[in-house]
């Protein structure tokens, strides 16, 4: 049963990816796209499929997997079902820095916005970590509270920047706050892939430790888990994944929060196996969300964060009602 569900998840991701590559307007119809994927077709269709849709698909897979993985790890680490990159202020810190960069940088330097977002996410992470430190170390509750405070400060900073930003810069700044995969290109994917791979690997490596930590810190320590080290590594890895996601896709708040819960409801509580499944499910949700965002009112685009929420929430509600 669980194996069948795993296969279903992979199939959903593959089908969503195929649809994302094939679906499109006059620049490359599904038939054109199919020909381009087979190595033929017009130069235009190859440009659209390989130059636009493929990087966008890969970015969607990377961002969706990163957010879901980060959410699953943070929820297990902090023992809080509401923990995710957004609640902990990491996404907010990245978005605030990106919005400020949009408002302040000279026109020729706007390409530095992703770097600013990543620096903002790192700064927010450091701030949360520092604020959560008490005489007896950092507790989960302190970390959540610190995250909430940093997130509130980031939201206030974003709103302040948006209200005073020069009006020609507003569209770009708003796009950061609403989330979009439209900026995907080969360079972004080539840069992001190794950046996401390392923290993802760290999290997967600590899957068992996270499972033990979820049962309590003392029992985990008794079973040989180095709680402080694991906590530090997992938090930094989750923060790095979130920073990478917000740098290239803006704030997409739903995927990191709900995807791990969806996986737990379907496959049970095993944290070790939850992480790869959450990554797959997050990638599938993001690819499907972006497909709908791109095609629902084509050629106009909807914010992808809105679509992932619209797709995921009903599914989540049904599962919540069915499970005890």
């Amino acid at each position: 049963m669980k194996r069948a569900a795993d296969v279903t998840l992979v199939l959903v991701l593959l089908l969503a990816s195929a649809a994302a590559l094939l679906a499109g307007g006059p620049a490359a119809t599904p038939a054109d796209a199919l020909a381009a994927l087979a190595g033929g077709g017009t130069q235009e269709a190859r440009m659209v499929v390989l130059g636009l849709r493929l990087p966008r698909l890969l970015l969607g897979i990377g961002v969706g997997a990163a957010l879901a993985l980060a959410g699953a790890a943070l929820q297990s680490l902090l023992g809080n079902p509401l923990a995710d990159p957004f609640l902990l202020g990491i996404s907010g810190g990245g978005a605030a820095a990106a919005t400020a960069a949009f408002a302040l940088l000279p026109a020729a330097a706007l390409g530095l916005v992703p770097a600013a977002a990543m620096a903002g996410a790192a700064g927010a992470t450091a701030l949360v970590w520092w604020m959560a430190r008490g005489p007896l170390g950092s507790s989960s509750t302190r970390m959540i509270l610190a995250g909430v405070a940093v997130n509130a400060a980031a939201s206030a900073a974003i709103l302040t920047i948006l209200s005073v930003a020069p009006s020609p810069r507003l569209p770009g700044a708003l796009a950061v706050t609403m989330g979009s995969l439209a900026s995907a290109n080969g360079a972004a994917v080539a840069w992001l892939a190794p950046y996401l791979f390392v923290p993802a690997f760290v999290l997967l490596l600590h899957g068992r430790d996270l499972g033990l930590l979820a049962t309590g810190e003392e029992s985990a320590a008794a079973l040989g888990v180095e709680v402080g080290t694991v906590r530090r590594r997992v938090f930094l890895a989750a923060a790095a994944l979130s920073g990478g996601a917000v740098a290239f896709a803006g704030v997409i708040g739903f995927v990191g929060l709900v995807t791990p819960h969806l996986c737990r409801m379907v496959w049970g509580q095993s944290t070790r196996r939850l992480l790869p499944r959450a990554a797959l499910a997050g990638a599938a949700l993001m690819v499907l969300g972006d497909l709908v965002a791109r095609r629902a009112v084509a050629p106009a685009e909807l914010p992808v964060g809105v679509v992932t929420a619209l797709l995921g929430v009903p599914f989540f509600v049904v599962l919540l009602r069915r499970t005890s």
Binding site: V297, P299, A300
Partner: protein
């Protein structure tokens, strides 16, 4: 210019372009809330009635010697004791306008979504400012310039086009905007989708749509920088190959639905005429007034 006392402001009321009623009363102290309506007031010869201008106003040069007011600073606006505030749907915060209405301040809001609406705005604002003759003359001038540009454009082949207001993300002017009318009058068919707002964000693939032949944008540094990055990206392939031509219009006339908007249309038609004469094979076409 005559002092306001000689202008004979009317005491009659009006209905503005959003359908809101503007009560009757004298007009001696005018505060425009956006650069386009500031330009309109001055073009109507009512600059002497203007007691403050919005912070973004930079034309005509006379505005430099007037006090500045932030369009969202209701306290400062009320303190100026205006008997008429000029607002626009192209940039004025509707909540601020509603609050001014509630406070009993007379507000006339223009909603310029086409050149016809611009001519109507010239007449209606001219009338409420007590500059009926100037309003009629300005409207007639707008109509005549549009007609001349339209006649010149009639000989141009129809081409698929987009008016780009931002490159990253790609945001374009939809049907029903003054930018759409600008394209239409220059024999350009707007490929932007309708029903998704006036300025929707669109899929980058639209830049590779084979129907797209011309892109029009305001010539300002942010847009030039965004264009350079887009042109170098896969989505800019047709632009880089010269299959899609880019026409840069003088920024302020093209971005503000005010009395200088006909200048943008004339520049666009002139650029199109040059473009058609040159045929295919060049990359970006500058318009009159280009920096």
């Amino acid at each position: 210019m005559l002092p306001f006392a000689c202008a004979g402001p009317p005491a009659s009321g009006a209905v503005d372009q959003t359908g809101a009623t503007v009560p009757p009363g004298p007009v001696r102290r005018v505060v425009p809330l956006a650069p386009d309506v500031t330009e309109l007031a001055f073009a109507l010869g009512a600059g002497d009635l203007v007691v403050a201008v919005p912070t973004a106003a930079d034309f005509p040069p006379e505005v430099q010697r007037l006090p500045r007011v932030a369009p969202a600073d209701l306290e400062a606006i009320v303190a100026l004791r205006p008997d008429l505030v000029l607002a626009t749907t192209a940039g004025s915060d509707p909540r601020a306008v509603a609050r001014l209405h509630e406070l009993g301040v007379r507000v006339f809001t223009v909603d310029v979504t086409s050149f016809d609406r611009l001519a109507a705005a010239c007449r209606e604002v001219g009338r409420i400012l007590g500059r009926r003759a100037q309003g009629d003359r300005l409207a007639a001038s707008v109509e005549a310039r549009c007609a001349r540009a339209g006649a010149a454009a009639a000989s141009l082949p129809q081409r698929g086009a987009l008016y780009v207001v931002w490159w990253e993300p790609l945001i374009v002017a939809a049907p029903g905007t003054f930018h759409d009318d600008l394209l239409r009058r220059a024999a350009l068919g707007n490929l932007a989708p309708g029903g998704a707002g006036r300025y929707p964000r669109v899929d980058l693939e639209l830049l590779l749509d084979p129907r797209l032949q011309v892109i029009v944008a305001a010539d300002e540094p942010d847009l030039r920088a965004g264009f350079a990055r887009t042109e170098a990206a896969p989505a800019g392939a047709r632009i880089a190959r010269g299959e899609v031509r880019v026409i840069w219009l003088p920024a302020d006339p093209a971005s503000r639905p005010g009395p200088r908007l006909p200048l943008a249309l004339e520049a666009l038609v002139a650029a199109r005429e040059r473009m058609e004469r040159q045929g295919t094979g060049h990359r970006a076409q500058g318009a009159e007034g280009e920096r």
